[in-house]
């Protein structure tokens, strides 16, 4: 059988075996969690249990956790909870007409922010430095009492760069603005504590941490304004209508429980695998550039660009060797523009087209990393031999 090496954990992860078990059991609890009878109460217990696990992992009270359908829904909920068009809506922040976010957010934030702009709200997209860190001077410059909401992601999905969320949040609060962080890539990979970070809202997702797809959650701090994105039911204390996805939520709870047990050990393992991968690439392939921040980075994420090679070609040649990665090349996205994240870091279009993201996870081994380095060197060589772009000559190797 052909070898398979999965190195795309920032896209999604396989289910943890314990999560599978928990979900299989939860499937028996088919009752509607809103029903008062035993079937309903059985499902309700599973959901409450998952809620407890999540709040004990990220801090806050269980009732501050709202289960939603995805990380994207959590993010859309936050960007849409201000500027309700209802006349009776008197939420104080609606009087402020500026929202601050960053240029490297996930498309679900950027597109929701674009909708706010269409509704007349001023949105400022903060630039980042070459490592993907928010330009704090620019942030302080544009921050004022006019700002209603600041939304900055905790860890970037493409390059892994981690922001100083605590500081960004405290500046937002100094001016009375609300603060949200999209922590979909952070929760379960690096320590996240809503109390310590001082966030008003925090988005998280199950499928990035060995839980099921189709479940996310939003932490809402006590007293923070809220307006439901999906209406029509009293579920989630009136904050998110729709019969709860009991199986998914139970899987989410188990995934979080396993993160609490495994995150620290796994993080050390991933850092060591990444060092091995990085050294292997540096040793075997010339004319490369690593993207993102060297230390403030998700432990399992490595983003690297290859001169004279295009990302989709790299991805598909690796796929033929059974290795799964992703790319910031335009070709993979169906648009003509390469990664907005790499472009925001000031990378050239060529560098962005030639980038791949390798995101490791709990099952990866040193042997797999060595195999990947070997195949990657072969693939890059093959592509460069066909390329119109000449790689720099041996520069005195």
């Amino acid at each position: 059988m052909k070898r398979k090496v999965y190195l795309d954990h920032n896209a999604t992860t396989p289910l943890h075996p314990e999560v599978k078990k928990a979900m299989a059991e939860a499937m028996e609890a088919f009752g509607n969690p809103s029903s008062m009878h035993g079937f309903g109460r059985q499902a309700r217990r599973l959901i409450d249990d998952a809620r407890d696990k999540i709040s004990s992992f990220i801090g806050g009270r269980p009732e501050d956790i709202v289960f939603v359908g995805s990380g994207s829904e959590a993010n859309n909920t936050v960007l849409n909870l201000l500027y309700c068009t209802a006349r009776r809506c008197e939420a104080p922040h609606t009087k402020r007409h500026r929202v601050i976010t960053s240029q490297i957010e996930h498309p679900c934030i950027l597109e929701a922010a674009g909708c706010l702009e269409a509704r007349g709200i001023e949105v400022i997209y903060l630039p980042v430095d070459k490592y993907g860190k928010i330009d704090m001077a620019k942030y302080e410059e544009v921050m004022s009492e006019k700002t209603a909401l600041v939304s900055v992601m905790m860890a970037n999905n493409e390059i892994g760069t981690i922001q100083d969320i605590k500081k960004i949040g405290s500046i937002a609060h100094k001016y009375g603005a609300l603060f949200h962080t999209d922590a979909v890539q952070a929760v379960g990979k690096i320590p996240v504590d809503v109390g310590d970070l001082g966030v008003d809202y925090l988005s998280l997702s199950a499928h990035k941490i060995y839980g099921p797809k189709g479940v996310g959650a939003l932490y809402v701090s006590p007293g923070a304004p809220f307006c439901p994105f999906i209406r029509g039911g009293h579920q989630e204390r009136g904050r998110r209508a729709g019969t709860e996805n009991t199986t998914g939520i139970a899987g989410f709870g188990k995934a979080i429980e396993m993160r609490a047990k495994e995150m620290d050990i796994e993080s050390r393992k991933l850092l060591s695998l990444k060092a091995r991968l990085r050294a292997g690439i540096e040793k075997n392939i010339k004319d490369i550039e690593f993207n993102g921040h060297a230390s403030d980075c998700l432990p399992g994420t490595l983003n690297v660009s290859f001169d004279a090679a295009e990302g989709e070609a790299i991805l598909l040649y690796l796929d033929l060797e059974g290795i799964a990665v992703s790319t910031g090349s335009a070709c993979s996205s169906g648009s003509l523009d390469p990664s907005h994240v790499l472009m925001a870091t000031g990378a050239s279009a060529e560098l962005a087209h030639g980038s791949i993201r390798i995101s490791m996870g709990r099952d990866n081994t040193e042997e797999e990393i060595d195999y990947t380095v070997e195949k990657l060197a072969f693939v890059i060589d093959k592509i460069r031999n066909m390329s119109t772009v000449a790689v720099k000559e041996d520069h005195g190797k």
């Binding site: 295009e310 070609a313 598909l316 040649y317 003509l336 279009a349 060529e350 066909m386 390329s387 119109t388």
Partner: protein
Amino acid sequence: MVNKPEWVYSDKVKDHFVNPRNVLDDEEEYRPDGKGIAGNIKCGDEMIMVIKVDKARGIIADCRWKTYGCASAIASTSILSEAVKGKTLDAAYHITAKDIAKELGGLPEHKVHCSVLGHKALRAAIDDYYKRNGMTDKAGKEK
């Protein structure tokens, strides 16, 4: 759903992507009769096509290429380099992106626009051949 390809592109694209034909190794050594370039790196795809011409018969005797780009860019240039051998300059000049995509067993629409550039590079190579041989009346006539 019979024969639904398991890969992202057709089997033919895969074949040419895995085993690209007629890649240009060394341009100086090859000494082409005409050379054309299309696309640019910024947009993610760039192609060079070089040809050797059987001058007596006015046909393309050989064709080589280099490509910076995605799988469909590589495969489309490769298949074109095979298709043009033995064709008259005039016939080769009239090959379109659609012809290439069809030959490859279909490509997603957005891929045809951004990655199939081989025919443009080929036309540029044929024009270059005309210019080199004082046949300027023929060059650029189909722009």
